[in-house]
Symmetry: C2
């Protein structure tokens, strides 16, 4: 991961919940950094989400603080106080206003977060933050993740070389409705905050919002994009700026990369699953059908069992509540068409289908035969390990 | 289970899929039997569901044939032919019209059903059908069920003694949208078919439609109610008939009993879970929130792990998309209030909550503090056994 001019990182052990590992990420952002963010649509958002939403309108950011181990969600007034105290501690260490500090917390819901644990830690982080250490940063925000999730893209915007670095965490409670559990993206491009916000919301729609592990939407979903502007070149302020296209493509591509890493690291997952739906009445309809398939426990357990059980795909199409004509439906696993025209494909070979199911990556493709609507979403299989991980998470 | 005048049962081994167990239920209904039915809202319904829907309008039934092992769903034109052939075979053995034969099939989706297997079997069933054998009947329609599900109620309608017997099957792919997997209810009451239809649809709304095992709606959900009228007494034809109330209460109660048995026998289930939501803006809103909780894999795995993880209940309330105010929310496990006013209950004792979670039946109660809307739904925990059963069902 390359450095991003204007971005410095530090991680620390605050002992919030875990022992012997880092649980705090501190990111210092140079003056002039612009910010965009999208958040969970949960009606029960975390205190950190409330804090970020309240301060996003200024479009300016100087610090990001993220802790793992405690989500500071459903913690009432105490939770609000903890968020404010964290921002104040960080701001005083860095000499900025608390409103320029953005927060994210992930971990157990409903446990009070003791923000005093950040006091010495954040001042220390401010002193030693450095341009490198992206993998360590991604590791500090992990909970049940099994690997740190990072991605980078380098592009030219007009005459200027620009870099985008991103990280994400999340493995369970993943059905982002606006963003994923937590993802932070940094660039040295100079792009105005309102425009940044549009790009981010659009990018989330085709990346994190196309990801599901278990259909359970988190209280804490937060996707933040920071642009330091230090790559140089004139600030991009309009959608019509011809330099924007390259940035947008790179951003979308990076967000998709991170979103797919989240699905791949789904709790207990052994297989990465791509669900492609075509021939729907609209893209939105295709998306809802794809999500119905990707969230079906029966489809996901069949994939875990390496069973080309396309009957369950039929079921998931049928229950989605979207326009569908049973007798025009075709289904593929990998490249193998297993069903067509409302019945089993007469030429389908169970051996071939079985071979496809044994792979680490499985693609389920459905054609509805109704229109041009298309969508792709990513998920993982549902294994006994998911049940094990989640039957014993709090204790 | 008592006999119902006008109803005779037989079971048989047709060797459709299983070996060494019965897989066909044959029910002979005396002339004059009226029928009501509600079916899956899946866009990909089974051939048997199509057949029943097409013939329901007459309000008359003479035979019910149900097989397990093969759902005759997504079987195209062949599936339609198989349904028709089954009805013709049954009708010729009993001397009625094929349109008076009602069908249900449950088991694997997408495999052609060889209806010729019914030929000798149904004629034989017609010859030996008898008023008793209700448990054997319920056993013949089981798939992954671990016990046969039956219920009976006896009431007075005016001067007449009336009996209602019901059976159900279903353990997975249970999120009935109109009815459950399969349930058949029989009564000797004399009630006109259109009225019977209203009662059944209303009864399904507070019973089977309040049940979920895995959120996956079947292609084959079928709930049929047969009324032979042989108890005597004048036929009830109007909603205003004062005799109707007792029947309706008994029917609703019996449907709830069967629906709860289905949830209790959810695939891999070790715990029966009741989710009660109150204080919502409307009953419909309460129902959607209750279903969001009951379908959450994270809530269900926590219950399997005997973990009073109310943070996940907060999550499931938040993701439901219904009006909710985080800071007015209260949550109970059993009688223990674990959260109130948007945060952990200060008086809550983890030991007490743990004791509640160890029981075979767990009640999750949520009060939203917004209005008078209420709903109760039933489900089960999500265990490794669910994953095991469904990773290896077809093979």
């Amino acid at each position: 991961m390359p450095a991003i001019a204007g971005v410095r990182l530090a991680t620390a052990e605050a002992g919030i919940r875990y022992r012997g590992r880092t649980d705090v990420l501190y990111v210092a952002l140079d003056e002039g950094t612009e910010i965009a963010g999208v958040f969970t649509r949960s009606r029960c958002p975390s205190a950190a989400v409330d804090w970020c939403r309240a301060n996003l309108a200024s479009g300016r950011a100087r610090i990001l603080v993220c802790n793992s181990g405690n989500a500071n969600a459903f913690t009432g007034l105490k939770g609000r106080d903890a968020a404010r105290l964290t921002a104040e501690v960080a701001a005083s260490a860095a000499g900025c206003r608390p409103e320029e500090v953005f927060l994210a917390s992930t971990g157990v819901i409903g446990e009070p977060l003791d923000a005093r644990k950040f006091e010495g830690v954040l001042a220390d982080c401010a002193g030693r933050a450095a341009p490198h250490g992206w993998l360590e940063a991604a590791r500090a925000i992990m909970t049940t993740d099994t690997f740190p999730k990072v991605a980078t893209r380098s592009i030219r915007i007009g005459e200027t070389s620009v870099t985008i670095n991103g990280m994400a965490k999340g493995a369970g409670m993943i059905a982002p409705d606006m963003a994923t559990m937590l993802s932070f993206v940094f660039t040295d491009a100079a792009i105005a905050a309102p425009l940044l916000q549009d790009l981010l919301a659009e990018g989330a729609a085709t990346s994190f919002n196309c990801t599901t592990v278990d259909g359970d939407t988190s209280t804490s979903d937060t996707l933040l994009l920071f642009a330091t502007g230090q790559a140089g070149g004139a600030r991009i302020e309009s959608r019509d700026d011809p330099r924007l296209a390259a940035f947008r493509d790179a951003l979308d591509d990076l967000l998709k990369d991170l979103a797919q890493q989240v699905a791949r690291d789904g709790e207990g997952a052994r297989k990465f699953v791509t669900v492609e739906v075509g021939g729907a009445e609209s893209d939105a309809s295709a998306h809802r059908i794809a999500m119905s398939i990707a969230n079906s426990p029966l489809v996901k357990t069949a994939i875990a069992g390496e069973d080309a059980n396309w009957g369950r795909v039929v079921m998931a199409v049928g229950k989605a509540g979207e326009p569908a004509d049973r007798d025009r439906l075709s289904i593929w696993f990998g490249g193998i068409r297993v069903a067509t025209d409302g019945a089993r494909d007469p030429d389908y070979d169970e051996e071939e289908a079985s071979a496809v199911m044994k792979k680490d990556g499985v693609t389920v493709r459905v054609d509805l035969g109704l229109g041009d609507g298309r969508a792709t979403v990513w998920t993982c299989d549902l294994t006994k390990a998911y049940v094990e991980i989640n039957g014993d998470y709090r204790s």
